[in-house]
Structures are given as C-alpha cells and as structure tokens.
C-alpha cells in the first residue's frame, strides 16, 4: 500500500485525522521577517496559543524577533492590549515607538506573582498578545497558560531559560534562540511541522 493509494487518500479525508503538513495552510501572524515566516509552521506566529522562546542568555535577540509582530498588532484598527508581564528590565518606550509599536496599546504588569498575573492576563480576552517572563514554570503551569490563551484568544509568549528544553511542554510552538553577530539562530524544538533544521536570521539593515 502506498500513499498514493485512493483508499488511503479517502481514509485521510476523515476530519479527525490531522496531518502535520496541513497546518502550513493556516495563516499566522506575520513575523515581519520573510525568512522566518517561511520557517514557522503557520507561516508566522500563531494568533492564538502559547509559544515558548528559550534563550541561553537574556537579551539574545528574542524581543527583536517579536517586536515587528507586536507593532502590527498594536496598529490594527480594533487592537486589544499588548501586555508585558513581569519584564526583568524596563521596556524602553522610545525604542518601542521607533519600531512602530503604538504605546497606547501597551501595558506592563509588574510586581509579585507573575505566573498568576500571566494566566489572568492571557485568559481575560483583553489582550492580543501577552509576553511573560516567569522564572519557575512547571509543565502543568504551562498547560494552564496554554488553556488560558485559548480562553482569551490571545498569543502568549513565555520566555524561559535554555535548560527548560529538556522538559515536555504543551505549548504549540517552542523555539530556541541563540545570538549571532547581527541576527539570531533559531531552532524549532516543537511545532506543527516536520522541520527541525536551524534558521540563521539576520537583522535587516545590519
């Protein structure tokens, strides 16, 4: 029996069967980098769901990767908020503005209990995107966060250290980011596609 067999083709039409390749037809949120759009399963960031970005060092370029998409989200006509939960440093407003982010749509949640605040924010339905920096996350916490993104129809981005790659995660997409001279090296650790190769992404204009 080969894949081209009409019997198998008919079987595969069953709606309960989900194939990795079919995900590529769904439209994601454009990342602002053409090469990255090609590389990601949904041709961009998923519009709903939790993604994890694993970095060995804070500041490896993970935020630069996201900012064009955030700028597009905040400029939309009926934009909801873009919330930063427990950022480790101050998000520098002039840099955000020069990247095209509308500050009117950006809110920052600081203080204690970042995990609780992250889940509340994701599940509230008031945000288009929520970025969260949470130190200690257990797999069942990630599951709760993933469910909250579905409740709130939100893109959740969880930044974690590189060593978390060993743990299983219910996130829809896991990316590892390492810095290059003028860009980043990306690896999909988990995603709805078969690609496991790395992508060297160079910042435009550098």
């Amino acid at each position: 029996m080969v894949v081209g067999d009409p019997k198998i083709a008919r079987l595969l039409e069953h709606p309960a069967i989900w194939r990795g390749r079919s995900a590529a037809q769904r439209s994601g949120l454009s990342t602002g980098f053409a090469a990255l759009d090609e590389y990601l399963p949904d041709r961009g960031w998923p519009r709903t769901g939790l993604i994890e970005i694993l970095v060995s060092r804070f500041g490896s370029g993970e935020l630069t990767l996201l900012v064009p998409a955030l700028a597009a989200l905040t400029r939309a006509a009926a934009a909801r908020w873009c919330v930063w939960v427990a950022p480790p440093l101050v998000p520098f407003a002039p840099a955000l503005v020069s990247c095209g982010v509308v500050l009117d749509r950006v809110a920052v949640v600081g203080g204690a209990r970042p995990l609780w605040a992250f889940e509340q924010t994701l599940g509230s339905g008031a945000c288009d995107a929520v970025l969260g920096w949470v130190r200690q996350v257990k797999p069942h916490d990630v599951r709760r966060l993933q469910l909250a993104t579905e409740r709130g129809r939100t893109l959740g981005v969880l930044f974690r250290p590189r060593r978390a790659a060993r743990e299983a995660s219910p996130a829809v997409l896991r990316l590892s980011v390492e810095p290059l001279a003028a860009g980043v090296r990306l690896t999909i650790l988990k995603g709805r596609s078969a690609r496991r190769d790395t992508l060297d992404l160079h910042w435009p204009g550098s």
Binding site: T48, S56, R57, F58, G59, S60, G61, E62, L63, T64, V67, T74, R75, A76, A77, A78, A79, R80, W81, P87, P88, L89, V90, P91, F92, A93, P94, A95, L96, V97, S98, C99, G100, V102, L103, D104, R105, V106, A107, V108, V109, G110, G111, A112, R113, W116, A117, Q120, T121, S124, G125, A126, C127, G152, R153, T154, E178, P179, L180, A181
Partner: protein, 459 residues
Amino acid sequence: MADLPSTRTAEAPLRSVRRALSPAATTHELWAGVHLSEFDPTQGLEQLAIRAQRFTPRVSLAPPDGLLLEVAGSLHLFAGVTGLRHELTEECLRLRLRPVLAFAPTPLAALTAARAGQPLVVTDLAQLVGQLAPLPLDALHWPEETRARLARAGVRTIGAVLRLPRAGFARRFGVAQLAMLDALIGRTHDLRKAFQAPLRFRRRRELDCELSDQGRLHAELVPLIGALGAFLTARQCGVMELECRFVHRHASPTRCVLTLAAPCSDEHQLAALFGERLNALQLPAPVRACELRADQLMPQLLSGRCLWQPGEHGGEAAEQSGGLIDRLRARLGPEAVYGLGLRQEHRPEGAWMTTPPPPAAARRVACARATDTPCEAAPPERPLWLLPAPQPLAAQNGLPRRRGLLRLVSEPERIETGWWDGGEVARDYYIAIDPRGVRLWVFRERAAPHGWFLHGIFG
C-alpha cells in the same frame, strides 16, 4: 391666520394655559403617599426615598414620617395602582418599615389619607372631596390649639372643615390653614421639593463581636457592598474609588482603598475585588466595626455591544480590559499595572515615563500618528530594554568588561545635557557585543574617572 388663537388653546397641552383656566390641571398627577409608623426617622425615610426613586424621579420627603411619589407616569410600568402598591410595600418591608399607602391626585390628600391610616385610591379629582370627607382632622397635622378650637365648634372631620365659610375660616384659623385646605383638594397647586439623593455613600456596620479573620470580615462587608450596589444603581452611577475603614478598639482605623479602572456598580464584582484586597491586608488588631465610603460617584455610560467577540475581526475588549486591571490591582496593589509613555528628553532615563493603564479602546488618531513616525529621519538606535539605573562595568585597557571583554561595534553617540536642572550628564554611548553575542548599550562618562556603565540591552 384668523384661527390662530383657537388653535393655540385647542392644541396646547401646556399646563400653564390650562392651569390659568382651571386648577383641575392636577388631575394629570397621581400622588402616592406613604406613611410610616414605628421607624427610625433619621435613616429610614431617606433610605426609602432612595429606593423609591426606582418608581419615579419625582419623590419628595414629607418629614417626619411621610414620603410622596408622583406616579402617574409610572403606573403602566408596574401594572397599575395595584402592582405599584405591591412593589412599594415590598420595598418598605425590605427596609423593615410598615407603610400605609394612599393614592390621590394631590400630594397633600395622598399624605393625609395615608396618615389617617386609610389606604384610599382616588384617581379622579372630582371624587376627591367625597373620599376625604370622613377622614379625621388630626391627619392634617395642624397645631394642637387650632384643632382644639375646631373640635369645640364640633368640626372633627375634613368634610366638616371644608364646609366652613372661607372668609370666616381664614380670619379665625389663619390663612396658612386655608391655603392648606386649598392644596388638599386641588384648588391651588402644591409644589413639592424633589428629593435629591445624596451623592456620596457612607455606611457603617458595627460587628457583633471583634473579628480578625479576613474571610469572616469579608462576609460582614458583603451587606454593605450590597447596599452600595443598590445606591449606585438608583443613581445610574459607578464608583472608581472605594474606601473601607476597619475600626479597632485601640489602634487607629485601618484603611483599605480599592481603586477601579472603570466606573463599576456591580456589587458581586466589588465584593470579589474586596475579597482580594482583604487577603493582602494586614490588620494590627481585631476589628470591631467597618465603614464603607464612596465619596466620588461617576456617571456610568452604557455602551453599545459589539457584534464580534473580542479578538475576532473588529471585536474590541473594553469591558475585559477594565475587569483585568481591577483584578490585577486588587491582588498585586495599585501600582502593579501601568502604561508606557514618551517624554521629550535626551537623557535616556528621562525619555520614558509610566502612565495610567492605556484606555480600553484603541484611539484611531494615535494609530495614524504612530504609522507616520517611522518616516522621519532615522533616529539613533535605541535598546528595547533599559536598566533602571546605569550599572558600573569594570574596564580593561580602556574597554569595558562584562563576562569577558566587550567589543564596541558602533560610533559613539554623545548625550550631553541637563546642566540646567542638576541632573547633568555627559556620556558617549556605544553599542557593544559581549562574548556570548548579546548586544548591549554601554556608555563612558566624559567626566574625570571615565567610568564605563551598562545602560541597556538590545534584546
């Protein structure tokens, strides 16, 4: 144009015209008089007046024991007099008041009938005198001396006093009493001052025993919050700041302030938020009383609902945003949620500021402006992360170190400003790359020690 005067009289529904013609204009009104017996006059009457405002906007107090409502316009909403009487009685019973209700075309007649204990219903002015006639004179609350003199003359009912000659009555018993009789039967107008509900809420509750358990305190607060909810609904207002004071026996009261993002009048939401705040509250001593205060009321604007869910194309999230801010603030404190803003300032640490949380709905103007800005001349590159304060870096051979020697990859950008306000800076900023490839924003002081500092991370 010849028939102009006649049209004016025929068409004009103007009370002024008809009032001038005949005082029977008051038949358009129907007053409900409420007489309360056995109650606490300081609180009960006002509370009832506040609640009665859900029946009609024209409520007036008749101290010490009466309340008047003009209900002609509201009858059809409450299934007529019977329905209204039922609802009004229920409202009184909820406040543990026992009312006598009477309906009449003039306020004084309604009140007098109620005070006399007669639950009359008179909708027609023509029948008013006949219905009032058997009522005793005491219900008019005239001075004791006047009543005694009338009683000596054998006049004990309203019917009897109305039969007395006007001129003689005025001469013997006073013009005021005659005017009152005229108002009673609708011969003259009886203008009543409308009750204005007080625009702040303060209510205190003494606890049966001293409490220090937050959960039980919250249970004690719930009725107060319920009263606040009814208070706000009656005025179509919401609160944005709410204060609760917990009174202790010896220590000074503990204040617990709840600040909301949007005007709120929902008692369940307020109670839930107070629960969050109470959990975080440290009480120095057991609580013997609590007081709820809302001093500033905000008119609550009802907004149209969008067809789309938030997050679907075109769906906004106005309600969700307010609720989210309130929940986060209740647990994390009022400073936990903020927005970001720009300031015209060259020093990086002063070029941004925290603002109140952004509005729930996107502003189109802001969007248009933001799309224009990138077209301007390319500004110098700025890092996405700023350190709260510059962090000193070690130096080696004149170059900064941070987990290894840093490599400077940009031309210096000089920022030298602030000499006029005491915060003078003179710095040369560079973009640097550390051995692990992280891009940093560092600067070198131009002043004597020429120290290196880390000020941002490009992220």
